[in-house]
């Protein structure tokens, strides 16, 4: 046991120094990706194929690889690079070959330039760490295909965190926002909000007369305070039930060229 603890402590120190983070943050990386302790923390020398003397340390090699991929520091600052790796320790556990294969799959399927691809992945490294094939409904490429029905590729690239919306909740959240006149706010972060809460807020705001508000306020963290209401109470007053969904679909159809009907799995995810 003491050998294991010594290994964990050595890995913590190594990661903390490498990424300029605290040992607590390094411990958090190990909590998420325990296999990191299997890698050497020693900086051993070896010769590469050309006879040059280089470091033989998998983690350092991978960091060097990612530096090249993401053009650090020319395009991505060292601080943001370290932050990306520290937040996504699975990147250190992914081989260069696998990572590049996934990058290429995303690039060719979505027809991105190298710069667009780098921006997309830096904004949300999870998109490359998961399955990048076209199979399955929650894979990166399948999700983008779904989101592209209402978002432009530029909007997705500018807001890569939007990829973290569960696929079966994206459409209802989008429709509620669009109906409320808050599409831009949805794309710029509103997608993180629970659809029941946002729907209830939008319904409540629609009843207000003589009060100035912006439609984007349905996504405000100050909503309850500003309007003197409780989200829990609004959700009871304006439930997102089957009748509400039918109304959302009807309103959307009346105001947009292409109507949307929720698929059964999307409906089930909400009801």
């Amino acid at each position: 046991m003491s050998k294991l603890i010594a290994k964990i402590n050595a890995t913590k120190k190594f990661l903390a120094n490498l990424l300029n983070i605290t040992e607590e943050e390094a411990e958090s990386m190990i909590d998420k990706q325990p296999s990191l302790i299997n890698y050497s923390t020693q900086q051993v020398w070896k010769k590469d194929d050309a006879g040059n003397v280089v470091y033989a340390n998998v983690i350092i090699d991978r960091m060097s690889f990612y530096r090249d991929v993401f053009r650090v520091p020319a395009e991505l600052s060292e601080k943001k690079f370290f932050r990306m790796i520290a937040s996504h320790p699975a990147m250190l556990n992914t081989s260069e070959e696998t990572f590049m294969a996934k990058m290429e799959a995303i690039k060719s399927t979505l027809d991105l330039t190298d710069a667009e691809l780098r921006k997309f992945v830096v904004g949300n490294p999870q998109v490359v760490l998961l399955d990048c094939s076209a199979n399955g409904k929650n894979t990166t490429i399948a999700k983008i295909a779904k989101f592209r029905s209402v978002l432009s590729m530029d909007e997705i690239l500018d807001n890569p965190m939007i990829m973290n919306v569960p696929a079966q909740k994206f459409t209802i959240r989008y429709m509620i926002a669009k109906n409320a006149g808050a599409r831009d706010a949805f794309v710029n972060g509103g997608f993180m909000y629970n659809e029941k809460k946002v729907y209830a807020r939008a319904q409540y705001l629609a009843t207000l007369t003589g009060t100035q508000y912006a439609s984007s306020e349905i996504f405000s963290d100050k909503f309850e305070k500003k309007f003197g209401v409780l989200d829990a109470a609004l959700a009871v007053q304006y439930p997102l039930d089957a009748a509400a969904i039918a109304s959302i679909e009807a309103t959307y159809a009346a105001n947009n060229r292409r109507p949307i009907t929720l698929k059964p799995e999307e409906r089930n995810a909400v009801l």
Partner: protein, 94 residues
């Protein structure tokens, strides 16, 4: 995965594929105890993040569920005010 944790994630409307993806991103989710994950969620909610929106936070950063809850609490305390807005802008802050 702890059966109770799996049931909890499914109660948030995550399906088997979502849960499988979480475990790819964060292998230790296979072993974390349900109570520890709950304690991490409680730390986040206590700091001001709305419980209603916890599904998006988990989807964006499933790794926080396996952290030490005290570490989560300390990280969030260091954020100061507006924890909800800050975490929604960057879920990887924890």
């Amino acid at each position: 995965m702890d059966k109770n944790l799996e049931a909890y994630l499914k109660s948030l409307d995550f399906d088997d594929e979502d849960i499988e993806n979480f475990c790819i991103l964060v292998p230790s989710l296979e072993y974390v105890e349900y109570q520890q994950a709950l304690d991490c969620i409680e730390a986040v909610v206590k700091a001001g993040y709305p419980k209603d929106d916890i599904d998006s936070l988990i989807f964006s950063n499933p790794g926080f569920l396996v952290c030490d809850p005290k570490y989560i609490a300390n990280k969030l305390a260091a954020l100061g005010d507006d924890v909800e807005a800050k975490l929604k802008a960057d879920p990887t802050l924890i």
